[in-house]
Symmetry: C2
Subunit: 123 residues, 2 copies
DNA sequence: CCGTATCCTGGTTGATACTG
DNA sequence: CAGTATCAACCAGGATACGG
């Protein structure tokens, strides 16, 4: 009986569980950016060209609830909100990097040269 | 300009690319099972309690097209079809294992003991 | 035993608009 | 600048049925 429950959701295996935390289209790029430095909402938005306003907000909320990201609001006008990785968030980075390296291996096998396509800071 | 194209699909980064190959709910469990041994369709079905007939078939087709899995049809009655990992498929296993280990770390942090929940062969 | 096709549902996401 | 709400579109995935 390998299934288990966490927070009212059923998981089938540890990979499933891990992917609920760092999976999806956006969580990984966000965590990767924040691993470089603390960023404001608008900075993140600028660095993630394809993400919608709504998605960035909701993904940041989820990452915050999961304890991967901290959110600091500065009570100034105009509003300023900074996002940073927590300790828990930082522990995800090596895993993301493994997947990233594997992705680049697959790209090379497919005849795509990652070096000509990506700057170093891309996920 | 980090985006790139492969097979008519747009990818945003290497993680995105890798996850298209081994991501989703089912590809990982399937690859994991096949890393232990060659299996028939019905065996796989038996070992993956929650997967539907349709999903198992479609995921196996995708993994075959991606070159991760080989499919051998024995022309007998009733039909017999065996699935095996290719070299390329085997190269995914260490990555899956990294994610799996990380998933178990997260489970422990959440107060779930993987050892009491999983047999060794679960993904 | 294994595979494909069809229909249908519901969760995920984007667009848009409005607030402090 | 940052966040929320609403609505519609899309697509992954389940149920079911039929075919080799």
């Amino acid at each position: 009986m390998p299934d288990f429950l966490d927070n009212g959701r059923v998981y089938y295996n540890p990979v499933d569980y891990a992917m609920h935390h760092i999976g999806g289209t956006w969580k990984t790029p966000i965590l990767w950016r924040l691993s470089k430095r603390i960023m404001r909402y608008s900075e993140l938005k600028k660095h993630l060209p394809h993400i919608s306003h709504k998605m960035l907000t909701s993904q940041l909320r989820e990452l915050e609830e999961l304890g991967f990201v901290s959110r600091t609001v500065y009570p100034v006008v105009p509003p300023k909100v900074e996002y940073a990785l927590t300790e828990k968030g930082m522990r995800a980075i090596p895993v993301i990097d493994t997947i990233r390296q594997y992705g680049m291996d697959l790209m090379r096998e497919a005849g795509i040269d990652p070096e000509t396509v990506f700057r170093k800071t891309e996920p």
